[in-house]
């Protein structure tokens, strides 16, 4: 079981690494950290306290804090969707902006009802489908691919490329899929 202090230390360390600040209002910060801890205890990973998680790792991958949307949201609005992570300007002004939901609706929909329930019941093995060379299909049906950043070479094996490259800060448009082929000789 994670302690609240561990959740806080992790958030502080992450903010420092990326040059962000944690929300300037102590009571809000406490609430965010408690929400993260609750989700980590409940699902096994700290999914966003402001969004509904499915409890299936592959479905929730993009909303595990710090979520996929944090960096583009801080760049555009000065804060992440929850307003846990903010930039220096927002931190100093203490004026928290409204941040619209960037997560695509089709990803949000995965947390609701039958689809999530079916995936929970599905056995981890026993699918008849053969794995493709390009995309790996997980039990939840999420197809993962290899993506690389054309600017710095960073490679990631995910459903979608990052919005911003975590290494060189290149935009999503700089990512391309790695097409792999297997040849047999002799």
């Amino acid at each position: 079981m994670t302690t609240l202090e561990e959740v806080r230390r992790r958030a502080e360390a992450d903010a420092k690494t990326f040059g962000y600040y944690l929300t300037p209002q102590p009571e809000l910060l406490q609430g965010f950290l408690e929400g993260l801890k609750t989700n980590e205890d409940r699902y096994g990973y700290p999914s966003c306290p402001c969004r509904l998680a499915s409890g299936i790792f592959e479905y929730d991958r993009d909303i595990i804090c710090p979520c996929d949307y944090r960096d583009p949201d801080v760049a555009q609005y000065g804060s992440c969707y929850c307003r846990l992570y903010v930039n220096k300007q927002v931190y100093e002004s203490k004026d928290l902006p409204e941040v619209p939901e960037r997560r695509p609706v089709e990803k949000q929909a995965r947390a609701y009802g039958t689809q999530a329930a079916a995936a929970k019941q599905a056995p981890a093995q026993g699918t008849q489908e053969k794995p493709s060379a390009k995309a790996e299909k997980t039990p939840s049906g999420v197809k993962k691919k290899l993506w690389y950043c054309k600017q710095c070479g960073y490679v990631v094996f995910r459903e979608d490329p990052p919005y911003i490259c975590p290494i060189c800060k290149a935009k999503r448009e700089m990512f391309a899929e790695i097409e792999s082929t297997v040849e047999f000789n002799g």
């Binding site: 929400g35 609750t38 989700n39 306290p49 969004r51 509904l52 939901e101 609706v105 009802g113 039958t114």
Partner: protein
């Protein structure tokens, strides 16, 4: 669907709050309604049954077009997404 009811003196509107138990902004919305003595019903969607989650998804999607928490629905018509004191104040005539 199991809603929790909070009674209040200000009961001239039907107020339904869809919230997450982990969400700070949902908590603040509840506190604001409580402070203003507003009668309302709420459900923690993250703690709801799977089939209820799907119904809630359909309700919020059809009324607001996007799904975010908290979503407050006043008189089945006015949809307020997020903790927006100004909009709550206007819709509930606080």
């Amino acid at each position: 669907m199991q809603f929790s009811k909070v009674s209040g003196k200000k009961n001239n509107h039907k107020v339904t709050l869809y919230a997450l138990s982990t969400c700070v902004w949902c908590k603040l919305t509840k506190e604001y309604l409580n402070e203003n003595n507003v009668e309302y019903e709420y459900i923690y969607v993250d703690l709801a049954a799977e089939n209820d989650k799907q119904k809630i998804h359909e309700i919020i999607q059809s009324k607001s077009g996007s799904i975010a928490y908290p979503t407050t629905i006043v008189d089945d018509k006015v949809v307020i997404t997020g903790f927006r004191k100004d909009k709550l104040k206007e819709a509930l005539e606080i």
